[in-house]
């Protein structure tokens, strides 16, 4: 038995470059999956750490359903017997003069020390004289803050210096350490009220509660009480779609990885068929041959997996930055640190590599078990049989596609079913590669023979001749290319839908402040109204609420202004809905409608400062602002329900001629400058949104690149095997009088032929995959409709990738042909 295994394993040593390629193929597949998994896990872990740090020992949070809470309520909280400790919090963002924004917490050090540790750090390190000054200053002087080391580092600010914000300088009296990584500025709560112009209000109170039920009873009307568990759930729901996206990408990476490993395993079997036949004929049992083969595959799986685990760890360091950036842009600040190195990375990689190797080598193993030594040894590996196999495989493909269809039809049940469908589709499509080769070969033959003559014809003939091998290579390459096309087309379509949406909804000439977490003083609105020539001002307020235990948003707008200027895309209802909105109805975004299964005409009940309030839905509009769903209502209704006068953004609409517009916009810009508020023209605003969009898909883009890298190794490995197998043929070519150049040409043509077939197939499969991503996956996870938009760019990029990879893949074989050709003989070993 030892010798049987040895006979297999010696191949690895003999064909080092091939073995290395195969190993790298597996390693990259595993690395992609491990890297993605680690990155998403460390992002989520960091999120929990950051949340834990800020949460401290608090168990609950009490707040108004929307907007700030009256500070007088604290007296009621003091008297509540179920509240052990409480700490009022003002939790806002402040925009820095250097650009960007930072979280500013207004805290009361006296009360806060019972709840979390941040405030106890105040003056903890200073000597007694310095301590006195710091604390006096923090409590008593306006605009005094302590900042954490992140802010200090980013702005190169030390204690005693000023932190420059758009609302003027803040005096930094201390820099404190913050394990959460989130940049923080902390101000005394009284000073924060002043700074944010919110006298008499706080944002929320964090509580340490010992009788939750009693608490909820006493505060049932007009308040939201959230336990930490609920908060965590909300947070995780907030990230739900994003998490899903990451998981899907990990799975896709794994899928490509498995395919690659299958590819590798398949070639291993193919190249061992003859040996298997010999072994069987001299008395080795099928079990022994299978075992020997498994040992080889597992050796690849384990080594490649271990290597992949290590590579995946480093990949995750890179990916985690991108993931963190995206979460920060879209949800809340997060600077995830990569998970520390553990040997579990290697163990996981090995597990993944060997599992994928075994799964991937199942089909070739089954084939090995059926091997008829007679045929193998007589060289009667008739393409006839490969043809028949192609039919069977094609049938299996049809079955997979049918399964995919069923899964898509059931995908409304759970988004994972949609994912399963996507995989079934890709698998099914890959099984048609043999078919496609048979169909494509005659065309390619004509094409190549007309370009490079006979050698081209031979090259393409070789593809057909070695169908059993080439079809697997094409399948693997095609899948990777399809993923690239599908992901890119999805992103492009999404981008176009977003542009369409912006052009309809964000039609203001300019916007004062464009972020939902920055507030605009009401005076700005009042002064803006005084500027002559402005046709309308949309007063925008967006708050996050909890609806049916899941996060959602409420947006209040000036419906009269939007009715006049905006062009909403209606899913149901029409511009007439604005009349209803003016009268007190609401409109909801598509994502809200899908997520909560409500439609135009329905009534929904939301918690307000006045208790539960039931509202009628007048229409459903297309929206890409929030995947969690938005209820849009007129500001008058919002003020009535929530007593929250906060403004997040002002949209300025102007009717007059262009010349006039410029003059008015200048005035508005000066006004916003006066208040330290950002001002953006429509173009700037739209550009910024697209910028955010692009950074959001950075992870997806990098996944695309990884897919292509993985594909490259796949195809290179496959081609290498093909060529190594065919050294004898090279001898025949030589005998026939081909020059080295001719053989190189054949090799390259064959490689490009495979690349072309893979590419053509991927244009179809990739486009369908894009549709699946758009119609099934995106709709299921984000609850919004993206309109497919055909852009040539992804196809072009993929085409170039395919050609480049094909050429690069045959570089080594061609070089080895050139080097060895003169001594090659027509002889069996």
């Amino acid at each position: 038995m030892k010798r049987v295994i040895r006979s297999f394993l010696r191949y690895l040593a003999r064909r080092k470059s091939l073995a290395i390629l195969q190993l790298l193929g597996i390693a990259f597949g595993v690395a992609a999956a491990v890297g993605m998994t680690l990155a998403s896990r460390s992002a989520l872990d960091s999120m929990e750490n950051a949340v834990d740090f800020l949460r401290g020992g608090s168990t609950h949070t009490i707040k108004r359903p929307a907007g700030p809470m009256e500070e007088g309520l604290l007296q009621k909280i003091v008297d509540d017997p179920s509240i052990k400790f409480f700490a009022p919090v003002i939790d806002r963002k402040v925009r820095l003069a250097s650009g960007g924004e930072v979280r500013l917490l207004g805290l009361d050090p006296f009360l806060d020390k019972n709840v979390r540790s941040i405030t106890t750090q105040i003056a903890s390190a200073a000597n007694s004289a310095g301590r006195e000054k710091i604390l006096q200053s923090f409590l008593l002087d306006p605009r005094t803050v302590i900042i954490d080391e992140n802010v200090a580092r980013a702005g190169n600010i030390a204690a005693g210096q000023d932190l420059m914000t758009m609302q003027g300088p803040l005096k930094v009296v201390q820099v404190f350490s913050n394990p959460s990584g989130e940049p923080l500025v902390i101000m005394d709560i009284g000073n924060a009220q002043e700074f944010f112009r919110m006298a008499g209000h706080i944002d929320r109170a964090d509580l340490v509660v010992n009788d939750e039920e009693g608490l909820r009873q006493r505060w049932s009307r007009g308040f939201i009480i959230e336990s930490n568990q609920q908060k965590a759930q909300t947070l995780s729901a907030l990230l739900g779609a994003f998490k899903l996206n990451l998981q899907a990408l990990s799975l896709l990476a794994l899928f490509v990885g498995i395919f690659l490993i299958y590819n590798t395993a398949m070639f291993t079997v193919v190249s061992r068929r003859r040996d298997a036949g010999i072994l069987l004929s001299i008395g080795a049992s099928r079990g022994q041959v299978t075992l020997a083969f498994l040992v080889e595959v597992l050796l690849f799986g384990i080594t490649g997996g271990a290597l992949g685990g290590i590579m995946g760890y480093f990949l995750s360091k890179f990916l985690v930055q991108i993931v963190g950036g995206t979460i920060s842009t879209l949800y809340f600040f997060l600077r995830p640190s990569a998970l520390p190195w553990t040997f579990w990375n290697i163990a996981g990689g090995i597990l993944l590599g060997s599992a994928a190797s075994i799964v991937g080598s199942l089909p070739p193993l089954l084939e090995l078990r059926r091997i008829q030594p007679v045929q193998v040894l007589r060289g009667r590996t008739a393409s006839r049989r490969a043809g028949r196999r192609t039919k069977i495989v094609g049938l299996a493909g049809l079955f997979c596609l049918a399964l995919a269809l069923v899964l898509f039809l059931l995908s409304f049940l759970n988004v994972y079913i949609g994912f399963a469908g996507a995989f079934a589709f890709l698998l099914g499509a890959s099984l048609f590669s043999g078919f496609v080769i048979i169909i494509a070969v005659p065309f390619l033959k004509r094409l190549f023979s007309s370009v490079i003559g006979l050698t081209g014809k031979i090259a393409i003939g070789n593809i057909r001749e070695n169908l059993g091998r080439t079809s697997v290579a094409v399948a693997a390459f095609m899948i990777a290319l399809s993923m690239s096309i599908g992901l890119a087309s999805m992103i492009d379509s999404f981008r176009h839908s977003l542009i369409w949406w912006m052009n309809g909804q964000l039609r203001g000439e300019a916007y004062i402040s464009t972020k939902a977490d920055v507030t605009v003083p009401e005076e700005v609105y009042d002064e803006l109204k005084k500027i002559p020539g402005i046709g309308g001002i949309d007063v925008f307020r967006n708050v996050q609420i909890t609806f049916r235990d899941r996060p959602a948003g409420i947006t209040s707008i000036d419906s009269a202004v939007l009715q006049k200027y905006a062009r909403f895309g209606w899913l149901s209802g029409s511009d007439r809905a604005w009349e209803d909105v003016k009268r007190g109805d609401v409109i909801i975004s598509e994502s809200f409608s899908l997520r909560f299964k409500v439609k135009a005409g329905d009534r929904i009940t939301i918690d307000t400062a006045q208790g539960p309030s039931t509202l009628r839905i007048a229409g459903v509009y297309y929206d890409y602002a929030s995947e969690h769903g938005v209820i849009m209502m007129d500001r008058s209704l919002y003020l009535k329900l929530f007593n929250d006068r906060t403004i997040n953004s002002l949209g300025i609409f102007i009717d007059g001629p262009e010349l006039e517009k410029g003059r008015i916009l200048d005035k508005a810009r000066q006004l916003s400058l006066k208040y330290g508020l950002p001002f953006a023209t429509r173009e700037q605003f739209h550009r910024r949104i697209l910028g955010i969009f692009d950074s959001t898909f950075a992870v997806t883009q990098s996944m695309r690149i990884i897919a292509v890298i993985v594909a490259f190794f796949g195809i290179a490995g496959a081609l290498m095997t093909l060529f190594v197998e065919r050294q004898k043929e090279f001898g025949i070519y030589r005998a026939l009088g081909f020059t080295t150049g001719d053989v190189a040409k054949i090799t390259i043509a064959e490689s490009i032929g495979l690349g072309l077939i893979s590419f053509f197939m991927s244009t179809v499969v990739g486009t369908i995959f894009a549709f699946i991503l758009i119609r099934v996956i995106n709709r299921q996870s984000f609850n919004w409709t993206i309109f497919y938009h055909l852009t040539p760019q992804p196809y072009l990029v993929t085409f170039l990738t395919a050609i480049a990879a094909s050429i690069a893949a045959c570089a080594y074989p061609v070089w080895s042909v050139i080097r060895k050709y003169p001594i090659m003989q027509i002889r069996e070993e």
Binding site: V4, S7, D275, I278, S281, I282, G283, A284, P373
Partner: protein, 230 residues
């Protein structure tokens, strides 16, 4: 128990479209122990098919094969593997040595599979085919004749009662071919091994006790090589 190999109405049809897919048409054959057989015939006459059926490497469409009185079909896959390990030796036209194993390892492998790992015996076997000193060469480092010698050593080392040889000289020049035939038949006679040599070379006849000719899936007994068309 006088016959070493016996077939009863052996048919083999290939599932192929196009031309006639029948390779064997009712072969009745009985080979006595220790006999050396030359099985001649044109290519495509069904020689190799028969050989593979005898070895249990392939299954007949109809009929049966008995080796040492044992029905191959009745043995099952496991039994047939055992049979190949202990009772059959193989020599191929293309030598079919495992390219990744040395000469010694190739020979030793057969012993190992037979459950009697013995490197010394393997070495002796190589010496007996005249290749002492080349134990550590890989197949591609040997000439064709040398490779075939190793293949013969591999077949003989486990001392099987039957050796099946498929065109053992087909890939060798005539001088080397003669040497190989002498070696193979000589060793078989010494050991009393039944040898079936498939060949299309008339030279084989000279070394055989009995000559069989195959044509179109049928088998004919020949008195001598005289008059046989090559």
């Amino acid at each position: 128990m006088t016959s070493s190999i016996r077939t009863y109405d052996l048919w083999k049809e290939y599932e192929t479209g196009g031309h006639d897919g029948t390779a064997l048409r009712g072969i009745e054959l009985e080979i006595a122990k220790g006999q050396i057989i030359a099985l001649l015939g044109k290519s495509g006459s069904g020689k190799t098919t028969l050989l593979n059926l005898l070895a249990g490497l392939d299954e007949p469409t109809r009929g049966r094969v008995e080796i040492d009185g044992m029905d191959l079909k009745g043995l099952g896959e496991k039994g047939r593997t055992e049979l190949r390990r202990h009772k059959l030796g193989f020599v191929f036209q293309f030598f079919n040595l495992l390219p990744t194993l040395t000469s010694l390892e190739n020979v030793a492998l057969a012993l190992e599979l037979a459950g009697r790992p013995d490197e010394k015996l393997a070495g002796e076997s190589i010496a007996l085919v005249g290749l002492a000193g080349k134990e550590d060469r890989y197949p591609h480092e040997l000439s064709g004749g040398e490779q075939q010698r190793i293949a013969i050593a591999r077949a003989l080392v486990k001392n099987p009662p039957i050796i099946l040889a498929d065109e053992p000289t087909g890939n060798l020049d005539s001088h080397t071919g003669t040497q190989i035939l002498e070696l193979l038949t000589g060793r078989c006679r010494e050991l009393g091994t039944t040898l079936v040599m498939v060949s299309h070379s008339l030279k084989t006849c000279e070394y055989a006790d009995r000559v069989l000719r195959m044509s179109d899936g049928r088998i004919f007994e020949e008195e001598s090589c005289e008059g046989l068309a090559p």
